[in-house]
């Protein structure tokens, strides 16, 4: 069959667009990361990141906060996804809708509303004072930053795990029961191995925005707990040191790529098909 000519060129606008606005910007990140103000090649931006204890601390903090938030999300989301996936079909869509609904609010608003609650003079302390309990200092602590991440990104963990779990054929669970497995054994030997792919995508969907956030750490951490995102934003919006900002972005990108590669490796091994 002769292929229609227009078909060959249908993708052309997109190819041009992707080259101009996806590939070229990435090239610019690399270019700026390895040049100085005058456009001459330099490694000083990259070496600044490695040598400065301040930046090392920022990177370490970003990784650890994002990891903690991801783990908390997983711990909450897994049972929730399981409960929803085993509910009546009619109830499931409502339950999922209710989880998605807050996500339709802008992240800025969602984060800010937590600030309103946990500020020193905020809603929570207002209530605590009213009932005569001592006030809590939560805002501007690492815990507050992690709370912000968990609150904002929890649905991203629940949804992929749920969508994998709901596809698990109920007969597989019945078959496991039939072969003598009790509830806990079914969970560990059948449901968990079959939902690994959902867990993996949930982890990436929470980890990536968490590690790169700047708004959550600004508002919930009060500027005392800078993350990579804060550092990048400052270079671009305040210090106008694009070269340093680009080098940080490059490192962040590589960091995430490495994390994802490790995760995928992990998930591939798990489909090897052996019960441990």
């Amino acid at each position: 069959m002769n292929r229609p000519v227009f078909r060959k060129f249908a993708a052309a606008p997109h190819i041009v667009w992707a080259a101009l606005f996806i590939a070229a910007p990435l090239a610019f990140v690399v270019y700026y990361a390895f040049t100085d103000e005058a456009g001459a090649f330099t490694l000083s931006n990259m070496s600044a990141l490695v040598t400065s204890p301040n930046y090392r601390a920022i990177f370490l903090r970003s990784i650890s906060y994002a990891l903690i938030a991801t783990v908390i999300c997983l711990v909450i989301a897994y049972p929730v996804a399981y409960i929803i996936s085993r509910s009546r079909v009619r109830a499931q869509s409502t339950m999922i809708l209710l989880i998605m609904l807050p996500m339709w609010m802008n992240l800025l608003i969602r984060t800010y509303s937590w600030m309103v609650i946990i500020q020193d003079t905020g809603f929570l302390n207002g209530i605590l004072s009213a009932v005569g309990l001592p006030n809590l200092h939560i805002i501007n602590t690492p815990g507050a930053v992690i709370l912000g991440m968990v609150y904002n990104y929890l649905p991203y963990m629940i949804l992929p795990i749920y969508s994998v779990m709901v596809k698990i054929d109920n007969r597989l669970i019945e078959a496991a029961h039939d072969l003598g497995a009790g509830g806990v054994q079914v969970l560990f030997r059948v449901i968990f191995p079959l939902s690994i792919s959902g867990v993996i995508s949930g982890i990436t969907m929470v980890f990536v925005p968490s590690i790169s956030t700047f708004y959550i750490s600004q508002k919930m951490g009060g500027g005392s707990y800078d993350m990579i995102g804060d550092a990048i934003e400052r270079q671009f919006m305040n210090n106008y040191n694009y070269n340093l900002g680009a080098s940080m972005s490059l490192v962040l990108m590589i960091l995430i790529l490495v994390c994802m590669a490790v995760m995928n490796r992990f998930s591939d091994e798990d489909t090897g098909g052996v019960i441990v």
């Binding site: 054929d169 007969r171 597989l172 019945e174 078959a175 496991a176 029961h177 039939d178 072969l179 003598g180 497995a181 009790g182 054994q185 030997r189 059948v190 191995p193 079959l194 489909t271 098909g273 052996v274 019960i275």
Partner: protein, 377 residues
């Protein structure tokens, strides 16, 4: 009634079950014996799969008792029953390979590793999958998956094996082979097989006992020969094999009238002049010269079936199906004769008048293609 010496292993006593107000099982009572191959046979929606799921523990009966070895097991969860299931479409674990699928139940039972290895290997040899241990489930053909499913269930040495339309997804040739293999396995292992199917041929050729079900009720229980030769009502007669079912009147013992004629028969014990259904199997009708015949009619269609012809004869506006080895031609007037022992007289039932006339296509093909819909419940 058969298999003397085999004690009762599973008993259903007055079991009923409804889904959303729809009565799916209506007062089912059934005894299943040790070492028996019993088949629940019926069209989709007759309740056969539900019966199986109640025995397996995946559904609980609304009322009535399920007994295993004489003990009530209504509330025993599936994983604590000495019963294993071969599921419809197999339900093999996609995250495990063939070996691990078969080993699953043994691992749950915490058997020592070397015993597991020995048993699983032996079982895979039995089902001819010796070299498939490391293969992934997705890479197997339907027939191979089916054998893994059987191996996975049998390796646990259950007292009773439940099979839910296990051959439904296979093509005809493979199905025939697997029927033989299953029957052999049952004989060799001595495990009670409870088999669910909508395919009457499968049921007749494999089973010791056939349970014909319709509309949530058991219609008839018996050996395949018994069911075929002495159907109790129009439904059974129609569902098992082909049959001409006519309205008749039992004039007295051994005498019945139908199609405007009086016939000798071998049935007795009906009331005087009781209306009955009369069954005559198409292969039991003899074509004779018109002058020697009991009934005469015009041939309206002839279909060549290979080793015989299937002809439809209009006798007094009732279309008879007759199987014969002699070629007849359409439009010809022929005579037929029926021997007394070929006439089966049945009591009138709710199914009277619904089946048995060949003036149009039967619905049987639809029933078969709907078979999987039942699983949705």
């Amino acid at each position: 009634m058969n298999k003397p010496g085999g004690g009762k292993i599973v008993e259903l006593n007055h079991v009923s079950k409804a889904f959303d107000g729809d009565m799916v099982l209506d007062d089912i009572s059934l005894d299943i014996h040790d070492d028996e191959f019993i088949t629940l046979l019926g069209p989709s929606g007759c309740g056969k799969t539900t019966t199986l799921r109640i025995i397996g523990g995946f559904e609980t009966a609304d009322s009535g008792d399920v007994l295993f070895d004489g003990k009530k097991i209504n509330d025993v969860p599936p994983h604590k029953r000495h019963i294993n299931t071969v599921f419809q479409k197999y339900a093999l674990f996609p995250h495990l390979n063939v070996y691990e699928n078969v080993a699953f139940g043994l691992r749950i039972a915490k058997r020592p590793e070397d015993e597991i290895r020995k048993t699983v290997r032996a079982m895979l040899r039995t089902v001819n999958l010796k070299s498939f241990e490391r293969r992934h489930i997705d890479s197997l053909s339907g027939g191979q998956q089916q054998r893994v499913a059987i191996a996975r269930a049998l390796v646990n040495k259950p007292r009773v094996l439940l099979l839910d339309e296990p051959l439904g997804a296979l093509d005809l040739k493979l199905r025939k082979d697997m029927q033989k293999e299953l029957k052999n396995m049952q004989r060799e292992t001595g495990i009670t097989f409870i088999y669910v199917t909508h395919d009457q041929e499968e049921a007749l050729s494999m089973s010791d006992t056939v349970v014909v079900m319709a509309d949530g009720k058991i219609q008839q229980i018996g050996t395949p020969e018994h069911i075929y030769n002495e159907p109790v009502n129009a439904f059974v007669a129609d569902f098992i094999g082909e049959s001409n079912i006519l309205d008749g009147v039992m004039v007295e013992d051994y005498t019945v009238t139908f199609a405007g004629q009086t016939f000798r028969c071998e049935d007795a014990g009906f009331g005087k002049n009781e209306p009955v259904d009369v069954v005559v199997r198409p292969e039991d009708i003899d074509i004779v010269p018109v002058e020697q015949s009991m009934l005469t009619g015009e041939v309206t269609s002839v279909t060549f079936k290979g080793d015989y012809y299937e002809i439809i004869v209009d006798i007094d506006h009732f279309k008879w199906l007759i199987e014969t080895t002699d070629r007849q031609s359409v439009g010809e007037t022929i005579g037929i004769s029926i021997d007394p022992y070929e006439i089966q007289v049945m009591k009138k039932s709710v199914y009277s008048g619904k089946y048995g006339d060949y003036s149009s296509f039967s619905d049987e093909m639809d029933t078969i293609s709907d078979a999987n819909a039942e699983q949705g419940k």
